[in-house]
Symmetry: C2
Subunit: 145 residues, 2 copies
């Protein structure tokens, strides 16, 4: 059993955030000793799932729904499986998006390295064909900045 202060240190989360999560229903079965929250292994596991789902972009109210399903037992396995499959698709899509962003950023790094070496941006259009990653072609018709 852990106090809220111990959990706060374990997860590097402010105490106020843990209380907020509790108020939002993310620890539906948490016990109390004369008013004081007793975090058990169950809540620790819940927090690991919370971090995962939050990291995948899920909102607090939907994480709460998941916690409700957990409490409902085996009748909700299908819903919970679906939730994680949707999360998988969402995270994979986000990673694809980040790859594109990264290609653009890498190009911009090259662009400013070159501009800095030359003292201006004027010769860059001529060098572009060799340096444009395919993701950026078509994006860069003209183009300072």
């Amino acid at each position: 059993m852990y106090t809220i202060g111990q959990i706060s240190e374990m997860f590097h989360l402010p105490i106020s955030t843990l209380r907020y999560y509790d108020k939002e229903g993310l620890f539906p079965d948490i016990e109390r000793q004369s008013g004081i929250r007793q975090f058990s292994e169950k809540e620790v596991e819940a927090l690991r799932v919370i971090e995962c789902l939050k990291g995948s972009g899920l909102e607090i109210k939907d994480i709460k729904q998941f916690m409700v399903w957990v409490r409902e037992g085996s009748a909700t396995y299908a819903q919970r499986k679906q939730l994680f499959e949707d999360r998988r698709a969402a995270v994979e899509e986000e990673m694809r998006q980040l790859e594109k962003t990264l290609a653009m950023i890498r190009f911009k790094c090259w662009y400013y390295e070159t501009a800095l070496r030359d003292g201006n941006e004027d010769g860059i259009s001529a060098m572009l064909p060799d340096h444009l990653p395919p993701e950026i072609q078509g994006l860069y018709d003209l183009g300072h900045s």
Copy 2:
């Protein structure tokens, strides 16, 4: 030259968002014809950079700073290069984080597939050693949910 409505369709952004970006200083050189915004190729390119920087997690006020630097010309190449290098590091870190999240999600997908097949979660602990990706070991001491 494009109207705000045309740009809205090109970028799939609401007109209100474009006006908001303008108010926040993201199109510092935009021209007007009797009050009406004239989006040129310059603003189109600005929007591509905005999408990129936003996708990398940068806040609007910092994107505005970038636009100010662009207007200041060659004196700010170094700052702009640094900005994109910081973005590269941030996006790469975010992708590493997403990989971890994805490992956990994939494990959860497997977990619920198994629970659904078995009708309960009770036999899963015994199967764990073969199915835990390394990222999740140590995380999963006990653990339903």
